[in-house]
Amino acid sequence: MTTRSRRLVARTPVFLAIPAAVGVVFVALPLLGLLAKVPWSDLGALLGSDLALEALRLSAIASTAAAGISVLVGVPLAWILARVEFRGRALVRGMVLLPLVLPPVVGGASLLFALGRSGLLGEPLYEATGLVLPFSTPGVVVAATFVAMPFLILTVEGALMRSDTRFEGVAASLGAGKWTVFRRVTLPMIWPSLVSGLVLTWARAFGEFGATVTFAGNLPGETQTLPLAVFVAMETNRDAALALSILMMVVSLTVLVALRGRWWRPS
C-alpha cells in the first residue's frame, strides 16, 4: 500500500467511510453498466459515422459558445449580485439561478414562447433582422447558455463574496481606475473559481438535452447534439447509443478531472 492510501485509511472514520463508499458505488455503477455493454469491436466504426462526428462537432461548438457567452454576461452579473445592494436583488438572484432547478423542458418551452418567431422578443427580432432562433444552430447555443450559465454565476458570485474588497480599495488608492482594478486585482483573485465555474458551465452545456430538443429541435447536422443523437439512437440503434454515451462520458470526465481538479481549491 502506498503512503498516501495508508494515510487515507488511517484518517477516515468508519461512519464517514461507509456512506462515502456507497456514494461512489452509486455514481460508478451506471458507468460500469454502460462499459459492460459497449460493443468495443465496432466502436471505431460507430463513432466514425458522419452522424456521430457531426453531433460531436455541434456539441463542442455549442457548449464552447455557451461557456463563452456565460463568461461575458455572467461575470458582470455575478459582480453586481455580489457587490451592489439594490432593491430586488434577491429576486434577480433567484431568477438567475432558476434554470438550475427548472426542468430543462420548461426552460426550452419558455425560450420558444419568448424567442420564437411570434414570441415576445422573437417577433421584433425576426422583423428587424430576419433571424430565427428556434430550430437553428444559434438556438442550440441559446438553450445551452440558458441552462448552463447559472453554474458560472453561482461559482463566481460566491468567490466575489468571499474575496476581500479592501484589495480593490488599495488598488484605487494607487491610482487604478475601475477597469484596471477589475482586470488586475478582482479578476486574478477570483481566477480559480472563474475557471472552475467555466468548466462546470461547459460540461453542463455539453450534456444539455431538454431545453435544446424543445427549443432547437432535433435536426441532424444543424441542431442534433450528442445527447440528442444518443436519445434517437436508443430507439433505432442500441450499439450506436452505447458508443455515443461512452464518448460523452469520456469527454465530460476528462474535462472535469483535468481542469476542475487542477483549478478548484476550496478556500
Binding site: D164, R166, F167, G169, V170, A171, A172, S173, L174, G175, A176, G177, K178, T180, V181, R184, V185, P188, M189, W191
Partner: protein, 350 residues
C-alpha cells in the same frame, strides 16, 4: 513637490456613531490619530483616501477640494494621490513584490522600471523582489506596502496601523525604517494607531480619537501633562523620556539605562509602559536589567490597579495591581527598588 497641506473638516455616519473630525495637516509633519479600537480611525482613513464619501463638511488636498457634498464634489480614490499603508500590508497576493511596487505607475500607464528598482533597493527588498507576498515576512510586507505607496509620489501619506501586525523585533526594525522614510517624505503624514508608544515616538502632533470625536490634540508632552479624558489619562501613564544613546546605553540626565538596541546613537526618545516597571522591596538580582533605588512620591488608585509615581533619580510612573500593592505594602515616602528590562524600553532617534 509643493508643500501640500491637507485641510479636512468632515462627518461620516457609521452604524453606531458619527465620526466627526477637523484636521489640519501641515507638510513635513507626522500627525498621529490615536484611539482605541472602534473609535472611527479607519473611517478617517477611508474618507481621506476617497474610499468612502463624507456626509458633511469638506476635504481639500494641496488646495484642491476633493470632497464637498454640499457642492456635489467628490474626487474618487484613484484620482486623489493619497498613499495608504494598511495594517496587514494588503499586498496583492497574486503578484510578486516587484509587481506590487510597480502597480501604481503601471496602472497609470507609466511603468518606470528604474524607479521600481530604486524603491526595491531603497527598502532593502532586492532579495525578495520576485517572491509572492505569502513568501515574505511581515516586516518585509510592510516595507513593500510603503514602497508601493511612496513610488506614486502621493500628496498625502496615510499609515493605518502600520506596525500592529508585526512581532516585537520586526516592529522595532520597521518603526525605525518608517521613521526614516516619514522624514524623507515631504507631504503631510498621518499615522493611525491604537498604540500610544508608536504615536509618541513617531508623531509631531497627536489627535486622540474616541467614539468618532477628537477629544484632545497636542504634542505627546502636552497630552501627558494634561490628559483630558480617562483614555488619554491611561495613555499619559506611559513614560516618555528624552536622552542620548550610544553603545546600548541611554543617558537621561545622570542616569544611564541599558537598552536592547546597541546601534542607535545620539539624541533619542524613549517610552516605557508603566506595567513594565517592576517594584521590589529588596535589590533584585538576575538577568540584565536596569536596577536602582528610589522613593515613592505619589500613589493613585485607578480601578483594580495603582499608579505609583517614582522620584529621583528618574521620575517615572509604574503601575501595580492592588494585590501587589498590598503585598509590598507600598506607601508614599517608601524606599523601593525599580527594575526595568532593557527590552521594555522602546527607543527612537529624535
Amino acid at each position: 513637490m509643493t508643500d501640500s497641506v491637507v485641510l479636512a473638516d468632515f462627518a461620516v455616519a457609521r452604524d453606531d456613531f458619527v465620526v466627526e473630525v477637523a484636521l489640519d495637516l501641515p507638510a513635513g509633519q507626522t500627525t498621529a490619530i490615536l484611539g482605541p479600537n472602534g473609535a472611527g480611525k479607519s473611517t478617517v482613513v477611508a474618507a481621506l483616501s476617497g474610499l468612502i464619501p463624507i456626509d458633511r463638511g469638506r476635504i481639500s488636498i494641496s488646495g484642491n477640494i476633493v470632497d464637498d457634498p454640499a457642492h456635489g464634489r467628490f474626487v474618487p480614490a484613484e484620482a486623489r494621490k493619497v498613499g495608504v499603508v494598511f495594517q496587514d500590508g494588503l499586498l496583492f497576493p497574486h503578484m510578486s513584490v516587484e509587481k506590487n511596487i510597480a502597480f501604481g505607475p503601471a496602472s497609470k500607464g507609466d511603468p518606470d522600471d528604474s524607479e521600481v528598482s530604486r524603491w526595491i533597493d531603497l527598502l532593502g527588498l532586492t532579495a525578495v523582489a520576485h517572491r509572492r507576498p505569502g513568501e515574505i515576512s511581515g516586516g518585509e510586507a510592510q516595507r513593500v506596502a510603503l514602497a508601493r505607496a511612496l513610488i506614486n509620489e502621493p500628496d498625502l501619506l496615510l499609515l493605518d496601523e502600520p506596525l500592529s501586525a508585526l512581532d516585537v523585533t520586526a516592529k522595532v526594525e520597521t518603526r525605525r525604517l518608517l521613521r526614516r522614510h516619514l522624514d524623507a517624505f515631504r507631504g503631510p503624514r498621518v499615522l493611525i494607531t491604537h498604540d500610544p508608544q508608536e504615536a509618541f515616538l513617531l508623531a509631531d502632533r497627536i489627535h486622540v480619537l474616541e467614539a468618532g470625536r477628537i477629544t484632545q490634540s497636542g504634542t505627546a508632552g502636552e497630552i501627558q501633562m494634561r490628559p483630558r479624558t480617562s483614555y488619554a489619562a491611561d495613555l499619559a501613564g506611559i513614560n516618555l523620556l528624552a536622552g542620548t544613546a550610544a553603545g546600548g546605553r541611554a543617558s537621561i540626565n545622570e542616569v544611564a539605562l541599558r537598552i536592547a538596541d546597541s546601534e542607535v546613537e545620539g539624541e533619542v526618545l524613549m517610552t516605557v509602559r508603566p506595567q513594565a516597571i517592576a517594584l521590589h522591596l529588596d535589590r533584585p538580582g538576575g538577568s540584565p536589567r536596569n536596577v536602582w533605588e528610589t522613593t515613592i512620591v505619589e500613589l493613585e488608585e485607578s480601578g483594580e490597579r495603582f499608579r505609583v509615581g517614582l522620584g529621583k533619580p528618574l521620575p517615572l510612573t509604574a503601575e501595580v495591581t492592588s494585590q501587589a500593592r498590598r503585598n509590598l505594602g507600598l506607601a508614599v515616602g517608601d524606599h523601593v527598588w525599580v527594575s526595568i528590562k532593557a527590552t521594555e524600553i522602546s527607543v527612537e532617534p529624535r
